[in-house]
Amino acid sequence: MPVRVRVPTPLRRFTAGIDEVPADGDSIRSVLEDLERRHPGMSERLLDEKGELRRFVNIYLNGDDIRFLNQLNSKVKDGDDISIVPAIAGGRS
């Protein structure tokens, strides 16, 4: 299912500087797997060695923090809006 993913500045080096990219999947986890296929290197910044969301990474599904939904197993549907937000970010001008 195609969704829109908003990418924070520190991860745009993996998306050729683009701030919003499409991805497919029926859960946040599968969307992240698809993002990794399309933009290699991204998932290592988002997930720890156990495959869990890094503590300093927040993901919002249609504005809701997935930690308060079903974490990485939160279901997504066609047209959903996903934002990846570091706890606090630096970035490139």
Partner: protein, 349 residues
């Protein structure tokens, strides 16, 4: 790598004051800035350091505004007032992910100037409340753009109405590092009785490491100055900058550093938990990062006095990601963390 131009002219000799001596009693909170205590870290380092090696942390949370940023904020406003750039009718504005904002808000309230602060929308809730409690007006920038987004929005606001604002511009104002040259550096020199051999500090604007380092080198050029930065542009160390992918502050002069040490967000967070449980001191994540670097450095020394800076205490971060999953942390994890560093060190040799 992007840079921003130096917007602040060089400081005149008469703007550089001598060493600040603690006041016997204070007439204003401004007089309470600085002269923070130096704590030797002993329990957490037990069995890790050689006998003639010690680590001290300067506890900047004891400043009245609660962080190291009180020092540069006071100096930048003092010089602004003295030059007439800050005068009645002006509004103080700057971009800050938090602590500088709090310091400017506190000082603005004290000297009777309104303050507006631009920060990413995801700055911690406690900090936003503190700013408002001091009467400052927060302006939120896009959270996906991070601290650089706040810098850009602040520039835009000032450009649209330049006469209205006084912008201390902590990233480019040499008064920022001068505050540390005049206060933090001399205090460390005095508190260690000149025994300091290494100074380790995290980089945000770089004012602390630049100014303190410069002072310490002026006393003893053999003192090593080490900056600590996140190990990746995607990090959770609020207030710190990964320089290679950031707007580089005009006051940052990398050639004055002896070394730079990268620290991962996870290691810094774990060190915050360790400092709480071993040393009884609750600090923010930048202090965790500073301690990781200080410990990594000190455990390889045969002899030395390593001084680092804990920029603030941890109460402002209790609602942040720093504390996600901390209940699983146990004291044994510190040993595991240090063993992990050994593995990495061996892997690179």
């Amino acid at each position: 790598m992007a840079t921003i131009s130096q917007s602040s002219p060089r400081l005149r000799a008469d703007e550089v004051s001598g060493e600040v001596v603690p006041a016997a009693h204070a007439n204003s909170v401004l007089e309470l800035i600085g002269n923070t205590p130096l704590l030797e870290i002993t329990r957490l380092t037990e069995g890790i350091l050689r006998p003639r090696v010690s680590i001290f942390a300067k506890l900047e949370g004891f400043n009245p505004g609660g962080s190291v940023k009180d020092r540069p904020a006071r100096k930048m406003l003092e010089i602004g007032l003295a030059r007439g750039d800050l005068r009645p009718g002006k509004v103080i504005i700057d971009s800050s992910s938090g602590n500088t904002g709090i310091a400017l808000a506190m000082i603005g309230a004290t000297i009777g100037y309104p303050v507006e602060l631009v920060m990413p929308a995801n700055a911690s809730r406690e900090r936003k409340k503190i700013l408002e409690a001091f009467g400052a007006k927060p302006i939120y920038s896009e959270q996906l753009e991070g601290s650089d987004g706040a810098i850009r929005l602040c520039r835009k606001i000032v450009a649209e109405n330049p006469e209205r604002y006084f912008k201390p511009d902590q990233y480019n104002n040499e008064a920022n590092s001068l505050a540390h040259f005049e206060t933090t550096g001399p205090e460390i020199w005095r508190q260690t009785e000149g025994r300091v051999t290494h100074f380790v500090a995290t980089i945000g604007t770089s004012g602390t490491v630049m100014g303190t380092g410069r002072f310490l080198k002026s006393r003893d050029p053999n003192i090593k100055i080490i900056a600590v930065e996140p190990d990746d542009p995607m990090h959770g160390l609020e207030g710190l900058k990964y320089m290679a992918a950031s707007i580089v502050p005009g006051i940052y002069h990398e050639d004055e550093l002896d070394d730079k040490m990268p620290v991962s967000t996870e290691d810094a967070y774990e060190m915050v938990y360790a400092l709480g449980q071993f040393e009884g001191i609750l600090v923010g994540q930048s202090s965790g990062a500073a301690m990781v670097a200080a410990l990594k450095l000190a455990r390889d020394l045969n002899e030395g006095c390593v001084v680092t800076v804990f920029p603030d205490f941890g109460d402002k971060y209790l609602s942040t990601n720093l504390w996600i999953g901390w209940q699983e942390w146990r004291r044994e994890r510190l040993q595991r963390l240090i063993r992990k560093w050994n593995v990495s060190a061996n892997a690179t040799t």
